[in-house]
Amino acid sequence: MTVLGGIGFTAPWLLIALFALPILWLILRAVPPAPIRRRFPGVALLLGLNDDETVSDRTPWWLLLLRMLAVTAIILGLAGPVLNPEVDQAEGSGPLLIVLDGTWAGAARWSQQSEAIEAQLTRAGRAGRTVGFIVLARPDVPVFQSADVWRTRLAGFTPAPWQPALADIDKAVEIITALPAFDTLWFSDGLAFEGRDAALGALQRRGAVEVYQTAANVLAITPAVYEDSVIKLSVSRATPGLEREVTLQAEGRDPAGNARILASVPATFGQGEVIANAELALPSEIRARITGFVISGQRSAGAITVVDDGLRRREVALIGGRNDRESLQLLSPLHYIEQALAPTADLIDGSLTDVLPANPDVIVLADIATLSDAESGPLMEWIEQGGMLVRFAGPRIAASDISRIEEDPLMPVRLRAGGRSVGGAMSWGEPKSLAPFKDTSPFFGLTIPNDVVVSAQVVAQPDPTLAGRVIAALSDGTPLVTRKTSGQGQIVLFHVTATAEWSTLPLSGLFVEMLERLAISSAASSPDAGDLAGTTWTPLRVMDGYGVLSDAGNLPGVAGPDLINAAAGPQMQPGIYGSGDRRLARNVFGVDDTLTPVTWPSDIPVRGLAVAPEQPIAGWLLSLSILLLLADVVASLALSGRLLSRSNAAAAVLLALPLLGQPSQGQAQNAADIFALEATNEVSLAHVVTGNAQVDEIAQAGLVGLSDTLFFRTSIEPAPPTSVDLEIDELAFFPILYWPVTSDQPRPSSEAYSKLNEYLRSGGLIVFDTRDADIARFGASSPNGRKLKELAAPLDIPPLEPLPGDHVLTRTFYLLQDFPGRHNSRDVWVEASPPDVERIEGMPFRNLNDGVTPVIIGGNDWAAAWAVRRDGAPLLPVGRGYSGERQRELANRFGVNLVMHVLTGNYKSDQVHVPALLDRLGQ
């Protein structure tokens, strides 16, 4: 490759052709554009007129320049110019180890890094070096292979959503030490981690180390916190720098369930600061739908934080018993529940029928025994769909017969009559305390304060199913809280009141914790390790290094405290974990984490990732030459006067269209426009294309014949008839559509039907012709008649009746009694006249409906009677002899009446009234 002025040429000898340019200049200059020949009768007037100035018949200089530039571009393009030619560098020898951090911090620039690695692999391949890879986030013994093999496998490397742990580094050092000597290229993600120096030391002992590291800053977002009615977000960057604004986006699902950006908020790093904060205030409806926050434009696991139940506030409907007395607020059955839930849940008040449509997460019924059918039905439905009903006992439930003999569907257990009271003044025994929670209970792990005692309760009836439904019991074994599932939802019964009357439970912290475990309320702040002791969490969705969540598959569960404390790693992948109904998010970047930039010893060369690849520009030059030649075509045409003449305009447009890049749209638009113009220039009759060539031909010929008849006999001078394809063509331009029915024609699509209905509603007329003279007797329908019924079923057609004798069709132009076509059947059906129209005494006809009947149905094969050959002679025979010709004449007259009816409406109906009206006025 020869390099000239920063541009390399693969075939420099071709540049000699540039010396031929001056010769070409001389040749081209002598050849002017050819003249155009034109027929013009006015030439007689032109004879003797000479051109004013003698325009030199040589090519103008600018056209020459254009052509020269085009030729130059071709020559340069063929010479194979290359931008940024790679100047040969000193290649190393021996094996090469490429070390990758392979963490999420590099995910945002992973493709850039891959390109840089590929460039290095190319160099190594050229030097014949073997290459091995080691990824610190997932260390493994490297395999030294040829660079070309690695190049194909480069796409297999993906960033891990964690930083290398100390154990990983130790393993890597061990591996490195065991290898023979090699040189190292370390692609760093820019973040410091423990043990990096140890690894560097190990590498330096084996050979030279060179580091590639991007100059871009690493960004990470901490988990969102909901405090003081706003969502607080904070973003960190690794190195302080200039002022910079990033956009944080809240991702979630819209009401339709599609993922979208719900809100975005800017956060600004001040000059020299590494943390930027932002606050986002959102209505709870939207807040509940948020699935995570991302830093816009950053594609890495650190730049996304997923959200668990922490942001979500459950909607709880509280329904208490009827307050039949002016009671103190502390005695309100809902007071303690309200206090317990208010900080962490959205409470809804109202009657049961009012709150059900709001679809709350939980409904609490405090001491409500009976529900009406109108309430229990929808309530049951709501539970089946995943609602949670929490009931508290009380005097009313104890006094009622609910769930006594049969288990009530809205109660988890059967109850004994009356309940019991222990430790009162009139009873033996002491108030009972709670038994420790069993490990099958959702309350397992909660500590029971000593001061929680129960003095009265409703008692569950022993049942085979009872044992499985108890989730909390008293020390003597009687159930305190029972639960059953119903559909996707569940029903929970506290056998005590929600007030402090029957027990001290509502006064204790345990009550709040129990509600939390039941997922009635959600934790206000993130739980700490102690809260999660004894729980096991299953990964539901885990993140990859790019921050994309995917199904966790069958990854093992993790212990609750690990979820909070343990560092992320292959065993503790970031993502969403679930335990029962609760969800916890484990993010890559925690609240207290910071980003520390890596500092390399001064003896290690550090390079950027940016690679300026070789760029062949031959294609650009050749394209330029083609553009110049096109411009030359246009200019030459303009010079010789052929550009703007009308016949060439189309060609010029065609030439220009590919340049614009939208030929198909332009042509399609054009075709539709031409169709519209042709259809609207003159009145044009139209028939529906049935697909049966013979029928279509006859319909077309029939409309030609009818058009001729109209042209010669009336003031209607229609344009040649049009064949209409229901699927493609616009119908609105045609006053009348003739639709011959064949038994085998395809059903129009639903779009076509909506077009037809639109056409009928806006005043169009469709003439259905079954062509079998039989249709009108709807009962004994022919194949065509059946097809007609099928075709017309989706159409918006009013009630029909056989054409009455005083219908305006009988007198719009000719006076007619029969409407024959090739057949002569009397029955033709039109829109039924209104039932209340009576014939007025002395009038020849009724005053019938306004407007034009939207359909005419008949079977007389009119088109065949109208049809004419090209020379105007009838196409098909009608009847026999003179009577046949008479029938054809009547068919033509019917056609004239038909078109007149369409175009003039009921005008004729009014006109014939005039003498009668005058007559009556005279009397």
């Binding site: 002017p32 554009p33 050819a34 003249p35 155009i36 020949r37 034109r38 027929r39 013009f40 009768p41 006015g42 030439v43 007689a44 007037l45 032109l46 004879l47 007129l49 051109d51 004013d52 325009v55 018949d57 303009a638 010079l639 010789s640 006067g641 052929r642 703007l644 003449s645 009308r646």
Partner: protein
Amino acid sequence: MTNPKSLRDYVPASLRADAEHEAARLPDLLARAEHLAGAVLLGAHGRRRAGMGDDFWQYRPAQMGDSRRAIDHRRSAMGDQEFVREREWQIAQSVMLWVDQGASMRFASDTNLPQKADRARLLGLALSILLLRGGERVGLTGTTLPPRRGNPQVLRLAEMFCQDDEVDYSPPEHRAMIPHARAVFISDFMGDLASVQLALTKAADRGVRGVLYHVLDPSEEAFPFTGRTIFESVGGTLSHETLKANDLKGRYLERLAERKAELQRLCALTGWQYGLHHTDTSAQSALLWLYGALDARAGVAA
């Protein structure tokens, strides 16, 4: 006519085919001309006084000097008085047409426009139909088709109009003009003006008056040409080359205006009327103008 054959060549089969081919052009022109003429209502015709004619006008008592043969015996038998049956005075005017059949007329600048010849023939034939309906005698100038009455003359005229002339610019036919008749010349008048002048002065000598109808294509008025061009006449006999056609526009239009002015001057001198028509405008209005011009002059003459 495009492919003339000697009589020997006509075998019956091809004779019929050729005849049909030739006849096929007639109905089209005829139908369009009939249609065009149908839009004009005839009025203000007939002389409304007694004279030579076919239609009954009135009975009047016989006077001295009336021929005995003139007495209408059917009317006279109803009483004692003798009546003479008078007929309406109907004069038939002879109108002679000359429609330019030259090659220069077979030109249309756009496929959407009719050729000049087409328009000229249509107007000529429609005018003939109107005049024949009005009872005039219509024919061609020259000796090929002298003026005659009646519908068959329409067919003969249509046939004559379907003949093309190969000459580029054909001069007006001015032979065998009937004295004091009317004449209608329809042409683009692109040829030699001297022949037009000769025809007009000759007509004026014989007391023939009429209409000079100038039919032009819009491109002949606009001259929308640019660039290096060789202009050729339709027949191919004349050609003119220019390097910059747009430079010629001004001078061409000047010459055209001169030509129109000259035609108008000739008309003024000889008592003819001059009309200008472009093929992109409606044939209907042209026909109305032609008919009106002819009718008005006829009224003056009568």
